[in-house]
């Protein structure tokens, strides 16, 4: 193939060259927060198993300024995950028909976001009750 001395351009920094790719990387980077939050949750489960003193220590850790900052940031990041998840979801589905017409991608996204609002809302209501 290289008998023709073709030039192959390097891929380094590819995602910084286009706003679309930057948004993609932001979407992927939400996983960092999901990962860390899950580890925090598991730490809480282990603390719960270890008794009231351990669990109180875990609760106190939640109030640590660094952890609070992480949790506030995570709230936004998880919300962005929800948005980006339901935006990409229509791409994974075959064409849907409803009442004789093709269901638009936007409708699928809206339905997903509505479901998330209901699910998360129910969780919050349950916790505050």
């Amino acid at each position: 193939m290289s008998a023709r001395d073709t030039y192959v351009r390097p891929m380094r920094g590819w995602w910084r060259r286009n706003p679309f790719f930057v948004r993609y990387m932001a979407r992927e980077a939400t996983a960092i927060f999901v990962y860390l939050y899950a580890l925090l949750l598991i730490a809480g489960l282990v603390a719960l198993r270890n008794g009231p003193a351990a669990f109180d220590a875990w609760l106190a850790m939640l109030r640590n300024p660094a952890v609070m900052s992480f949790l506030f940031a995570s709230l936004g990041v998880f919300a962005y995950h929800t948005l980006s998840w339901f935006r990409i979801m229509p791409k994974t589905m075959p064409p849907l028909r409803f009442a004789g017409r093709r269901v638009a991608a936007g409708a699928i996204t809206a339905a997903g976001l509505a479901a998330a609002a209901i699910a998360s809302g129910a969780l919050v209501a349950l916790a505050l009750a």
Binding site: M11, I32, V34, A38, M68, W85
Partner: protein, 109 residues
Amino acid sequence: MKKRSNAPVYWSLFGAGGMLAALVGPGLLFVTLAAPPGYADALRFAQGFAGKAFLFACASLFLWHAAHRLFHMLKDLGVRVGPGSWMLCYGVALAGTVAAASALLAIGF
């Protein structure tokens, strides 16, 4: 004949975790920030079957979701992913799953 990929296993876990996180994540974060339960309430919730299932699903599936995305993100950033990367991502998901299961079972019913 091309070798069949086993990606579907990881991808299904990624999808389940992503869907769960998308649906309950914001609510869960809000509760963690604004109204985390005290020991007694938390214990009662975790001892119930529904509570156990919910907490296990969140703990485990969030990790499998994140592991898959992080693994591919490392590839996107040009990292040559080997066993070390696999351990950091899927290995931790596996360990976390075991830890969550064992803690929830030990908490009893």
